[in-house]
């Protein structure tokens, strides 16, 4: 019976994936079907009848694909792609089926509808300055800042957990320890998914993968161990430490350097623009000359714009990476 259900769910997944549905929408459809079947199965009945009443995988897939693209515009970023012509399309979603995504903001209560930005800003100007009006860039920046702390946490849990459990494996305690680590990885992966969904505006799984309720203790461990997503999640968590270091460093240095340059007139005006170096025991005093201040402001502005674009691309790239590692 479980076999039939698994077969049905696989067919549904294939039908939706081959039609180019977003992974998150596929996940929703699978959750709904699984929930329905589990209740039906608990009541008792032949799976063939249940599936007949539920509809064929193709029918169900078509129903999801038919209702999905609502509010699609709301989650689209301001400058999708580099071509300025795309900016004039008035926020119409691309027609490619692979682009069909699920209404994130509507579901999570997040305000993403303003991503359309002011209509007046056009073409190249919109491409350059639009980043400041795009709330997703600001939330990406926030993600980059918190990623260091999260990376340290994930890395520590996975590395210490696995090595402790591995070391204890000669004793029997290793098994419950391993189970604990696996459980923690699953919960942390779900938590990271929530963070990524809110800050990077991409759909992530909302719940843990369900273990068939009928199976025993050791089968449960085996189920988790052979689930490729458990290992992908661990890999992601280990990778989050170096990534977090890079993201945090880029965010903090980029923001502080550009803001310091932009506010250079203030420092100069208040007489704080002198620098004292001590090189080989000799004291050097150096003042920013007055003529350099406007250049500092210009350089700061350029740096800030470039920095915000970098944040945008890091945010998008990381969202793709996180998604690939979770849905694997």
């Amino acid at each position: 019976m479980d076999k039939d259900m698994e077969a049905y769910l696989r067919q549904l997944q294939d039908a939706m994936t081959s039609a180019g549905a977003d992974t998150a929408l596929v996940q929703d459809a699978l959750y709904d079907a699984e929930e329905h079947f589990q209740v039906e199965m608990a009541v008792g009945g032949r799976f063939a009848d249940v599936a007949q009443a539920y509809g064929s995988p193709e029918e169900v897939a078509a129903a999801y694909l038919g209702t999905a693209p609502v509010h699609e515009t709301a989650v689209r970023p301001l400058n999708s792609g580099g071509a300025p012509m795309q900016g004039h399309s008035g926020g119409r979603p691309d027609a490619t089926p692979a682009q069909v995504s699920y209404p994130v903001g509507v579901q999570t209560g997040m305000i993403v509808a303003t991503a359309g930005g002011p209509q007046a800003a056009r073409g190249v100007l919109k491409d350059i300055f639009g980043v400041f009006a795009d709330p997703r860039v600001w939330t990406s920046l926030m993600y980059m800042i918190v990623s260091l702390g999260l990376g340290v946490l994930y890395f520590t849990v996975v590395v210490t957990g696995l090595s402790t459990a591995g070391g204890m494996m000669v004793l029997i305690v290793g098994i419950p320890l391993l189970l604990l680590v696996l459980g923690m990885v699953r919960v942390l992966a779900l938590f990271e998914g929530r963070v990524v969904e809110v800050l990077l505006s991409t759909r992530m799984p909302r719940r843990l993968r369900t273990v068939p309720p009928s199976i025993g203790f050791f089968q449960r461990i085996w189920f988790w161990l052979k689930d490729g997503r458990t290992w992908l999640s661990m890999l992601y968590m280990v990778a989050m430490l170096p990534l977090g270091v890079v993201y945090f460093t880029v965010a903090v240095t980029g923001l502080s350097t550009s803001l310091a340059l932009i506010t250079a007139p203030l420092w100069w005006w208040f007489g704080w623009a002198d620098h004292t170096f001590i090189v080989n025991g000799e004291v050097h005093n150096w003042w920013f000359p007055g003529w350099s201040i406007p250049f500092a402001v210009i350089a700061g502005c350029l740096l800030l714009i470039g920095f915000m674009h970098l944040v945008k691309w890091i945010g998008r790239g990381h969202a793709l990476f996180a998604k690939a590692m979770r849905y694997g």
């Binding site: 039939d4 049905y8 067919q11 329905h36 209740v39 608990a42 007949q52 509809g55 129903a63």
Partner: protein, 142 residues
Amino acid sequence: MTEPSTAEFDGGTQSVPDPPPGSETVAQSLRKFNKELSSGIVSLALLALMAHAGRPLYGYQIAKELEGFGEGLPVKQGTLYPVLRSLEAGGLLTSEVEPSVSGPPRRYYSVTEEGRQAIGLWRESWIRTREFVDSVLEGNRG
């Protein structure tokens, strides 16, 4: 467990009502018509049921409740779920996921204030449409 693993779950050709004997064109046109007809009706029926229920319901309960009306649900149960999600995306329903003792957590839907307001307007619109279609079908010019 005793059931052999069925490779295909093809219930697609047996949508209710059954196509009358006739050419494939007629059967196909009925399927197409049913599909087009159901898109709004299912939303209306779901919203009306939720407004009457007065308590949060999960997908399976909703499907079973709807089976009890008239001659039964005219669409496949599986097609209700995406409609529920799209009603939620439109702000007419809200949902909450609650764990269940057996199996996966269940998503409980309940109607929002906007949903209650919408159902009144939808109902009027439906009655007007129904009366219009009925009188056209019967040839009454009123």
